[in-house]
């Protein structure tokens, strides 16, 4: 290595530096983020799991009673947000519902439990293996402690108990509890505890040991270790004892007080589970049980660590697969979007085509109308022309007659002119008179041609503003 080797020297400080605030800095960060604690309760239905949880956490979590008729064991997790002072705890209580209820208590009892525990490990592992991960935000659902409820027969452990605990001891911290301990007498209880512990030892079951390496808690922990399994009684009902209200169970022969240490071990359990070793349970879960799961899982998948001088990494293939998946996912999304886009384009195209077709139709329609109009107008024109011709012929005939009569009566020209004038005035002022339809049409129109030499042109020319009809001599 090109760098100098580290020389770990113990140095004495010349004054107050201030890094003794580090634990506070760290703790304050954790407080902001919050904590999770996950408890798994395993025991027969009706043995008092829910009641104990309620008693431990001073609250009522559960209202429905569990049925005895479950067909298989199923795990029911429920999460609650608890707060005390400035500490936020995400508490998850997992119930193994239906445990020990079946007639045939075979292998179907334990695998669902193991599977649940493994799934939580798996989820964590998957998050840890992600390329883009956020572990500090991750809601840790791994089981930190398993409270195993032993039926208070007073004799020994059931074979189901041994089988279950044996399967779970390498996966989770087990704390065995004797439930409903008020059904056993003190002396029987003592013998029962010894019997249980020896059975556990002889069967190689590794239950959780309260840690004794830290001087601060070593003493109390080792004392408590000797009291296992804890004989507990749970109750949320309060009974008046002396002048205080305490949580207890009232019998005709007396009152069993939950928090009285000579009555049961509830206080010891609470002390150990919550007030002294909660953090250690979390740590053990992470550094021991999870690591074991991870190691087994990776080895199962075919990976091996190599010795320092050989080259390849153990998880290369995992990451290769992950990366492929990641890229595959990206590709898939891209394809999706592209497909969506293509579809949209097709849709819009179809719409546009439809619109085009409509417009085309309209155009054709209008064209037809226009042509129709044109034809009609053409007809009318023809009519008009015919009329004109007819009129001209009549005019010629009348003129011929007039000139004949003029020769005959040459003394009265004025009158004729007047008549002529009158006739024309009459014609002009009496649009109702039907002299000729064409004239009527024109006077009705009341338009004046500007540049046109003939009235036919005037009608055809639409740019002329025709205001009043003026007639040339020739027309009349």
């Amino acid at each position: 290595s090109p760098y100098q080797n580290e020389e770990k020297r113990n140095l004495s400080l010349g004054g107050h530096v201030g890094f003794d605030s580090l634990p506070d800095q760290l703790v304050s960060k954790s407080v902001t983020q919050g904590f999770s604690f996950n408890i798994l309760c395993v025991g027969e239905t009706g043995i008092g799991k829910s009641t104990l949880m309620n008693t431990l956490f001073n609250t009522t979590f559960e209202t429905e009673e569990a049925s005895h008729y479950e067909s298989a064991v199923r795990l029911r997790p429920r999460t609650y947000d608890l707060q005390e002072s400035n500490v936020h705890l995400k508490l998850t209580i997992v119930d193994a519902v239906g445990f020990g209820d079946q007639i045939n208590k075979d292998e179907r009892q334990v695998p669902p439990i193991v599977e649940y525990i493994d799934t939580q490990f798996e989820n964590y592992l998957q998050e840890e293996l992600k390329i883009r991960r956020s572990l500090f935000n991750y809601h840790d659902t791994r089981i930190h402690v398993c409270l195993y409820f032993i039926t208070p027969t007073g004799h020994s452990l059931k074979s189901l108990d041994l089988v279950t605990m044996k399967k779970l001891d390498s996966k989770v911290n087990i704390i065995p509890i004797i439930a409903k301990a008020d059904t056993i007498s003190k002396s029987e209880l003592h013998k029962f505890k010894i019997k249980i512990m020896s059975e556990l030892v002889s069967n190689g079951v590794q239950i959780y040991q309260f840690p004794t390496d830290d001087e601060a808690v070593a003493e109390i922990n080792s004392v408590m270790n000797a009291h296992l399994p804890f004989a507990v009684v749970g109750s949320t009902e309060e009974v008046k004892v002396g002048n205080k209200l305490v949580r207890a169970r009232q019998y005709p022969w007396g009152v069993v007080q939950v928090e009285n240490e000579s009555h049961c071990d509830f206080v010891k359990l609470r002390e150990m589970l919550i007030r002294v070793n909660m953090e250690d349970l979390r740590e053990q879960t992470h550094t021991r049980h999870y690591e074991l799961y991870r190691r087994c899982k990776l080895e199962e998948m075919g990976f091996k660590d190599t010795d320092p001088d050989s080259q390849p990494f153990s998880l290369q293939e995992t990451y290769e697969t992950k990366r492929k998946e990641f890229l595959g996912e990206l590709q898939r999304k891209e394809e999706e979007m592209r497909q969506m886009f293509v579809n949209k384009v097709k849709e819009t195209e179809a719409e546009l085509k439809e619109k085009e077709r409509e417009l085309h139709e309209k155009f054709e329609h209008l064209k037809r109308i226009h042509q129709e109009e044109k034809r009609k107008v053409e007809e009318k024109r023809k009519e008009l022309e015919d009329e004109m011709n007819a009129f001209n012929r009549r005019k010629v005939a009348v003129e011929t007659l007039q000139s004949q009569s003029l020769q005959a009566t040459s003394q009265q020209p004025l009158k004729k002119d007047k008549d002529k004038k009158n006739r024309s005035v009459i014609t002009a002022n009496q649009p109702g008179v039907c002299l000729s339809s064409s004239k009527v049409m024109i006077t009705k129109a009341n338009v004046e041609p500007l540049n046109c030499t003939s009235w036919w042109q005037a009608i055809q020319c639409c740019s002329c503003l025709v205001k009043s009809a003026t007639w040339r001599e020739g027309f009349l």
Binding site: K8, L11, V27, Y80, Q83, E84, N123
Partner: protein, 348 residues
């Protein structure tokens, strides 16, 4: 009646290797506020945690970068009130200024108030001392990335250590020469490159060569230049967690930083007290006196309030960025031989 919960039937979070029937597991379970009727003792977890961390102890790795003669070693010694860094002042040592940038990491164990800290000071002699200083940040960047790589290797092992040794650089103090004018191109180049991989805290060295006005002006100019060049020094704006953080950090970013410091390991008698200081013909500069220089601010900032945060930003952000890049770019973790090291640098 107690609180009613709602069940969320959720699929498994990510890819399951074998297709199995999905069991009912909580994905994001509903949290319900349970009203507490008495003391449970959940808040003791703080004490439990504190005890555990005191037992395991802490690691802290601080790097100092700057041209020689700016007082880096002295400052680090002053910060930790001990001879953590070998002083390079007084030119009676045999060592010459190195021809290239060297990286020297020296570790010490110091204890205070029951808290054990393994402190590593990483010195970078030779930085900025050559005639041609092109790319002199590269060996530094390489060192930082190598520490990330080391950590990643350990993390990726099948059988891994209970506590992975942390040699990653948590904090890099960059020493700015108190010219009073502006930042040098080398300063900008270094900080531009490295602010993306490590927490950089710029400090103005030998601040006793500037008057108060000069100091204020220089600081403003430096801040402006850093902003203009898009250099995000620690505490980075984007990592402010909440409003409280933001207001606190804004004040530090916009007013106090860069800290104008003076270092010393000699003690003098001032007003009946023994203080760390520098003796000059015109007076004694008291290092820990806030009216003389900002050393105390730097010390409080780095050690007393933000030390854990420096580590967390390094772990949760810089390290994660390195890891993600590494895993993505190369589709896995190919072996790090001598040749591929160079290739990786170009990839990074």
């Amino acid at each position: 009646a107690g609180p009613v919960e709602s069940k969320n039937e959720a699929a498994m979070s990510e890819l399951v290797p074998e297709p199995r029937q999905k069991p009912v597991v909580p994905m994001k379970p509903m949290g319900i506020n349970a009203s507490l009727l008495g003391y449970i003792g959940i808040d003791t977890i703080i004490e439990q945690m504190r005890k555990k961390t005191m037992k395991t102890g802490f690691d802290f790795n601080i790097m100092v970068v700057g041209q020689s003669g700016l007082g880096k070693s002295t400052l680090v010694n002053t910060l930790f009130k001990s001879q953590v860094s070998r002083k390079s002042s007084g030119w009676n040592r045999e060592e010459k200024i190195p021809k290239t940038v060297e990286i020297k990491a020296i570790g010490h164990v110091i204890e205070e108030g029951g808290v054990k800290m393994k402190l590593t000071v990483i010195d970078t002699p030779g930085f900025g001392d050559q005639i041609n200083n092109e790319n002199c940040w590269e060996p530094i960047e390489k060192y930082i990335n190598e520490q990330y790589e080391k950590f990643l290797k350990e993390e990726v092992n099948i059988a891994r250590k209970k506590r992975i040794p942390d040699t990653r650089v948590h904090c890099c103090l960059y020493f700015i020469s108190p010219t009073g004018h502006s930042l040098r191109p080398l300063d900008l180049e270094f900080m531009k490159h490295l602010s993306k991989v490590v927490n950089i805290i710029p400090v103005i060295a030998k601040a006793d060569t500037m008057t108060l006005e000069e100091k204020t002006e220089f600081k403003q100019r430096v801040r402006k230049e850093l902003e203009v060049n898009g250099i995000e020094f620690y505490p980075q704006k984007e990592f402010d967690e909440d409003l409280e953080d933001k207001t606190e950090n804004d004040k530090i970013r916009q007013e106090s930083m860069p800290f104008a410091v003076v270092g010393s390991d000699k003690e003098y008698q001032v007003n009946g007290k023994r203080v760390l200081g520098r003796k000059t013909p015109w007076g004694i500069i008291e290092v820990e006196n806030l009216t003389h220089c900002e050393f105390a601010l730097l010390r409080d900032f780095v050690i007393r309030t933000h030390l854990q945060d420096l580590k967390e930003v390094t772990h949760n952000i810089h390290y994660e960025t390195y890891r993600a890049k590494r895993l993505n770019d190369n589709g896995g973790l190919p072996p790090m031989t001598a040749e591929t090291e160079e290739n990786h640098e170009s990839n990074l």
